[in-house]
């Protein structure tokens, strides 16, 4: 099996497209870092303190407004509380232009990483068919099951490599350009202002983003294996990845969408506590995703193992 993965890895990196994907990712990470640096505003103590003071004043003014709705009242109250907390504790707000800020940016581009992994994921099987190399690959003393497994593992390895590159690069670039952060992020839990743990948030964003990452790759791999056409597979997977929420909104009227993987694949819903359709438990989401993951994998393997190769 190791030999087979080695083979797939070698083939992957001999394609120009793979390097293009890496270059795109690097350009985005470096580009955003550099732009942030160029447009960075010098933050000094007095500035942010004045700002916070202004926010309190503003909130107070707004709260004077008659017939203010409940939601707005809560918002201004929280704004006031947080600003007061910063002034009392000398806690400057977090800015994008910091190492932590840049790392958080890294976590936020998991959608891009997913998108970039879906491309080779959709073509790793189908391209063997369109190139006709599949017949050279399958007339070897290696079962089709092993061949397909090695391809699936290779694609996930590729995806994880991109994630690793992103984590390392955003950290290094963030540190070089901005240095470690001085500010803190605040959140209000049960009416009490608290400092958030930025590192933990970044870590959780990465972990929860793996839902979309895994499902999109499995879906692309499945379509690529069944249709043996890279273009159809890439187009369909991109469509589902980008338009997922829209598709769910459209289907919502007709079918119970809580049993569709697209409703759950964005696991960061559970992190933000803002749900796309209605509140569900993490367990429910993982269960739905698990069932679909098994279906995608099973269908990929069944078609690949049974099919007559005519390419």
């Amino acid at each position: 099996m190791f030999n087979l993965i080695q083979n797939e890895w070698m083939k992957l990196w001999h394609k120009k497209g793979t390097w293009a994907i890496l270059v795109i990712l690097l350009l985005v990470i470096i580009g955003v870092g550099v732009l942030d640096k160029v447009f960075m505003e010098e933050v000094n103590d007095s500035d942010w303190k004045q700002e916070q003071q202004a926010m309190i004043t503003d909130a107070n003014t707004q709260l004077q407004t008659p017939d203010l709705d409940e939601w707005s009242i809560q918002m201004y109250e929280e704004q006031k509380e947080m600003a007061q907390y910063r002034l009392d504790n000398n806690a400057a707000p977090q800015v994008n232009q910091s190492m932590e800020g840049n790392m958080a940016f890294g976590a936020s581009i998991m959608v891009l990483i997913t998108l970039l992994t879906v491309i080779p994921g959709a073509s790793i099987v189908s391209q063997e068919f369109t190139d006709g190399t599949i017949k050279m690959l399958l007339t070897r003393p290696v079962s089709r099951f092993k061949v397909l497994t090695s391809k699936l593992i290779t694609i996930f390895l590729f995806g994880f490599t991109l994630i690793l590159v992103t984590i390392v690069l955003t950290t290094v670039i963030g540190f070089i350009l901005f240095g470690t952060a001085t500010g803190v992020d605040l959140t209000i839990v049960d009416g009490v202002v608290q400092q958030t743990n930025t590192m933990k948030d970044i870590f959780l964003t990465y972990v929860y983003s793996l839902g979309d990452f895994t499902m999109s790759i499995l879906f692309a791999f499945f379509i690529g294996t069944v249709f043996s056409s890279p273009s159809i597979a890439i187009a369909l997977s991109m469509l589902f990845l980008m338009m997922g929420p829209m598709i769910i909104m459209l289907l919502k009227k007709y079918i119970p969408v809580e049993y569709i993987w697209l409703t759950h694949s964005d696991l960061t819903q559970h992190l933000r506590k803002e749900f796309f359709i209605e509140e569900t438990t993490l367990f429910m989401s993982l269960a739905v995703l698990g069932v679909y993951a098994i279906i995608f994998i099973a269908l990929s393997f069944m078609t690949f193992i049974k099919r007559d190769v005519k390419a």
Partner: protein, 301 residues
């Protein structure tokens, strides 16, 4: 004849109600080169795909060295080297990387073995260049190299000389003959070039509409025929018919069934009867003529 290395028994393939291969049985032997001929769409490539496990059998069995291709695929295919139609290689990699790729899928193919095969097929100079820069002939050579990597006992070649120049074809033929004789490899060659098959093969199997319609050895001397030009015509004709020779006449020339070792006797007797002999020559029935016989004059390729 030794034991067959490959056995096809009642092989049938039906796709969407259409019978592509119909009850085909065939045995292939070590050290023998078997040609596989048939018109386009007769089922040559389908048969090759069934033998290599690319397609599944509808019914029947195929065994290679005793291992069933359907039930014991990895064992059965480990003895087989294949080129199915054009050898499609990974164009974005060098020839050498392609061979490394395939060698990793077999057991015990050393770097030395790769170099050896590269040398054998005459690609040493260009092996580190990308396959996309190769000519069709070079790809064909690389295709042969990947098929030979693991020293297979059974070699399946689908249109192997396609794209080779005449010198290349000749070299290729000699090479196949060599590995068949020296390594006792059984070779199965499908081709549409009758003359190619005739020069290359010991035996030929003919397929038409998915059915095996004939198989025979090539250049068997059992039914040698001689062409005789002699005068006077009537005298010769009378002599031949009274002595029970099987013959026909055609434009003053006799065509008779006669083995080579009987030729001097006939000449002596005719000379004794004052017959003037202008020419005696052996008639080689070409494969093409044999085919026209087999298929009743229908189109072969």
């Amino acid at each position: 004849m030794s034991k067959p290395i490959v056995e096809l028994k009642n092989v049938t393939k039906i796709i969407k109600g259409k019978t592509l291969i119909d009850n085909l049985s065939l045995e292939l032997f070590p050290g023998q080169i078997t040609g596989f001929l048939g018109p386009n769409g007769a089922g040559k490539t389908t048969t090759v795909r069934l033998m290599t496990g690319l397609m599944r059998l509808t019914s029947g069995t195929i065994t290679i060295e005793g291992a069933s291709i359907a039930d014991d695929y990895e064992k059965a295919i480990s003895n087989v080297g294949v080129i199915v139609e054009n050898p499609e290689m990974y164009k974005y990699m060098s020839g050498y990387k392609n061979l490394i790729h395939f060698s990793r899928m077999h057991k015990d193919v050393s770097k030395e073995r790769i170099d050896e095969v590269v040398k054998q097929v005459g690609l040493t100079k260009r092996i580190n260049e990308k396959v996309s820069t190769y000519s069709l002939g070079m790809r064909q050579r690389l295709g042969l190299a990947q098929a030979l990597l693991h020293d297979p006992k059974f070699l399946i070649l689908d249109e192997p000389t396609n794209g080779l120049d005449p010198a290349g074809i000749r070299e290729f033929r000699t090479y196949l003959r060599k590995i068949a004789v020296e390594n006792n490899v059984s070779i199965f060659v499908s081709s549409h070039l009758l003359s190619e098959i005739e020069l290359m093969c010991d035996r030929v199997a003919v397929i038409q509409n998915g059915k095996l319609i004939d198989e025979r050895m090539i250049q068997s001397d059992e039914k040698a025929r001689m062409k005789l030009k002699a005068e006077p015509f009537e005298l010769v004709e009378n002599y031949l018919s009274s002595n029970d020779y099987v013959f026909t006449t055609q434009e003053g020339v006799f065509l008779l069934e006669l083995k080579e070792d009987k030729v001097p006797d006939l000449i002596n007797e005719l000379v004794a009867q004052q017959v003037q002999i202008f020419a005696v020559s052996a008639v080689h029935e070409t494969l093409e003529e044999q085919f026209l016989q087999m298929t009743g004059g229908g189109q072969i390729v």
